[in-house]
């Protein structure tokens, strides 16, 4: 946070999908900024645009149908929007690495683990790393992610390994080039609970060891609490709250964030049913002009029909809700 340039700085980012029924406003004027070494969680329900945001920013969403309509994405000060495919390819893998939800489907079933790892490592280096060298790096990485018997797994095919092992391999692949930014897109959702805990431990360890800057996408606040220090809550293509993790749990501001927390099971409270948020996502072909959550919100009132931006309620805590007044404060993250 001492560093004045954030590693990732997304400003005013909007994206639509062109469909037969018109433009689907999937992401609307999103701001998200990460300082070096920060681990930020991006949470929200399925379909809120978390994955699209982080993939589109690095050219991984096919266009058409996707179209970026406004904004800027700066990685370590370098603008990414408007780069050619070739230039973006140089950024992906090398500067920005991604790990994904389902380790079962993100490895190619007909190539050996070793081939896929060395290919990725060579691509990340822009072809500068020789095959033998890439093999050494890959084996080193497999040890780093605590994969037993790296030499043997190197010759294995994906279907011969368990989900947890495959996720370790994907993590090794992503981190081999020591990227500036890691995007972990629900890395534990598809794993069973004990493996989930192991992978989360591993990620926490790697974030610490390698000084990684990371966005972790999740719909599970319990998972992100173990790894991240800050949380950005996304709803229907907008960021509605952005705060340190402690504040999200102790003093959530946005009614949607409160709803998410109420939906978490509590170990010491017996309840008949977990709370849920009534209603569904708004129609993003014709999104509401004002707050996108208003139609599901118990506290909605007349002012919610007007557009609402992020308001500062505490030094590092912003919320897009009319219930709060903007209090200008110095914030080291958003200061340039």
């Amino acid at each position: 946070m001492m560093d004045s340039t954030p590693i990732l700085d997304i400003r005013d980012f909007s994206l639509v999908f062109d469909t037969f029924d018109g433009a689907y406003h999937a992401i609307d004027k999103v701001d998200l900024s990460l300082a070096a070494g920060e681990a930020v969680a991006l949470v929200g329900e399925t379909g809120c645009g978390k994955s699209v945001l982080t993939r589109a920013a690095f050219g991984l969403v096919p266009s058409p149908p996707a179209r970026i309509t406004s904004g800027s994405v700066r990685l370590d000060g370098r603008e990414l929007l408007g780069l050619s495919d070739r230039e973006l390819r140089g950024v992906r893998g090398k500067d920005v690495a991604m790990i994904f939800q389902d380790p079962m489907t993100y490895l190619n079933p007909v190539f050996r683990i070793g081939t896929q790892l060395t290919d990725a490592i060579r691509a990340q280096s822009g072809g500068k790393v020789k095959r033998a060298e890439a093999r050494d790096i890959a084996l080193g990485m497999l040890e780093k992610v605590h994969l037993p018997n790296p030499e043997r797994q190197f010759k294995a095919y994906p279907h011969e390994l368990s989900g947890g092992m495959r996720q370790r391999i994907l993590i090794a692949m992503a981190l081999a080039a020591k990227p500036k930014l890691l995007i972990a897109d629900e890395p534990t959702t598809a794993l069973d609970v004990t493996i989930q805990a192991q992978i989360l431990d591993l990620m926490a360890e790697l974030v610490e060891d390698m000084g990684l800057t990371m966005i972790m996408i999740s719909h599970d606040l319990g998972v992100v609490a173990q790894v991240c220090s800050r949380v950005a809550v996304m709803y229907a293509g907008k960021i509605v709250e952005d705060a340190p993790i402690g504040q999200i749990f102790d003093a959530p501001a946005h009614p949607y964030t409160k709803g998410l927390l109420d939906a978490l099971p509590h170990p010491f409270k017996r309840v008949e049913r977990l709370a849920s948020i009534p209603g569904t996502l708004p129609d993003l072909l014709n999104p509401p002009k004002g707050c996108r959550f208003a139609q599901r919100c118990a506290s909605a009132h007349a002012a919610c029909d007007a557009p609402v931006g992020l308001r500062r309620v505490a030094p590092q805590h912003t919320v897009a809700c009319t219930l709060f007044e903007d209090t200008p404060m110095k914030d080291p993250v958003h200061e340039h």
Binding site: F58, L60, D85, R89, G90, V91, R92, G93, K94, A97, M98, F100, D102, T105, Y106, L107, N108, P109, V110, F111, D119, A120, A123, Q124, G126, Y157, H159, E160, L170, M173, A174
Partner: protein
């Protein structure tokens, strides 16, 4: 792997026996007195009776079938009334020509079909895709013999680019028979010019024969490529910064080609059957033309033999296809 091959070869014997039952039944249920047919039109009743006895036509059907199978096991396929020679000699002469033609045709179908299918998928719903799909639809719709006639009329007769028919010109040296395939025999004989000429003679019949298979391979590869290019492991490869050529031609293609392989095996069988039509159009002295002439003169032993031989060739090709499957897909390899 060896066990798989042995098992499949064993199954082939059983299937061939089944095929023999079918062809034998058809030949014997067909109207007409086999003894009279075998004796020829000018035979006296005594001669017919003598043939009935020596050839066993007076015995009950099951006994005759057993005799027939015994004959097959000894490699005796009977005698052709039409050529007056033993069927095995005829087949040894005509089968290599057909195999040469069919191999050439299937090679055309694969060499053009796989890349065209891939290109159509890459340019889905754009101009190249429409053009390629036109080929695919025509290939499925146009009858082989009609296409053969059109090619012959326009490219051979009108433009004179290709010979009208046959295997070689009158003035070409026929290489000494080794495999019976002229291109290979000529190359073995150190005569590449004759090999090229023979290839030249096969272009039109092979084109007519290959178009339906080409169309099928395009359709299957296009559909499969579209599917595979959207798979998670392709997204992961892109996220690693791997280039589009490598992703398409290697990462995606090795997955997408598997259903095309099955299609190739199937189409190979159809092509063998198609030679009956195409060899007739191009007066190509292969087994198809031989079978057609035998059928016209109710010469049953050659028909039965050709059916068995083509059936065996079809089964053997599909065994090779299954082995190719196992080589390309490690998941199949582990099941066997």
């Amino acid at each position: 792997m060896t066990r798989l091959i042995l098992k499949r070869l064993g199954m082939m014997v059983v299937m061939l026996l089944g095929l023999a039952i079918i062809t034998f039944s058809i030949a014997n249920i067909a109207p007409g007195d086999p003894a009279r047919l075998a004796a020829g039109p000018d035979a006296t009743p005594e001669m017919v009776e003598q043939i009935r006895e020596t050839r066993g036509f007076d015995k009950p059907l099951p006994v005759r079938f057993a005799l027939y199978v015994g004959q097959l096991v000894r490699g005796d396929l009977g005698t052709s009334v039409y050529t007056g020679r033993s069927v095995s000699d005829d087949i040894a002469q005509f089968l290599p020509a057909t195999m040469e033609l069919v191999f050439f045709a299937i090679t055309i179908a694969i060499v053009f079909g796989i890349p065209l299918g891939t290109l159509a998928a890459l340019w889905q719903n754009r101009f190249p895709d429409h053009g390629i799909r036109l080929i695919a639809v025509s290939g499925a719709a146009l009858p082989m013999f009609w296409l053969g006639l059109m090619l012959q009329w326009y490219l051979a007769l009108e433009l004179g680019w290709f010979p009208l028919g046959g295997r070689l010109g009158v003035f070409d040296d026929v290489p000494p028979q080794i495999t019976g395939m002229i291109t290979i025999d000529a190359l073995l004989n150190g005569d590449p010019r004759t090999a090229l000429t023979a290839l030249w003679y096969m272009v039109l019949p092979a084109a007519a024969l290959s178009l339906p298979a080409l169309a099928a391979i395009i359709r299957v590869n296009r559909a499969e490529m579209l599917e595979v290019l959207g798979r998670d492991y392709v997204i992961n490869a892109k996220a690693q910064g791997i280039g589009p050529l490598r992703i398409t031609a290697i990462y995606a293609q090795k997955n997408a080609i598997l259903p095309s392989l099955a299609m190739i095996g199937l189409r190979f069988g159809w092509m063998l059957g198609g030679t009956v039509l195409v060899e007739g159009v191009f007066d190509f002295p292969g087994i198809g033309l031989y079978a057609a002439k035998a059928a016209v003169s109710s010469d049953f032993e050659p028909i039965m033999a050709v059916t068995l031989i083509l059936g065996a060739a079809f089964m053997f090709t599909n065994l090779l296809i299954d082995l190719a499957y196992a080589v390309l897909d490690p998941r199949v390899r582990n099941q066997v």
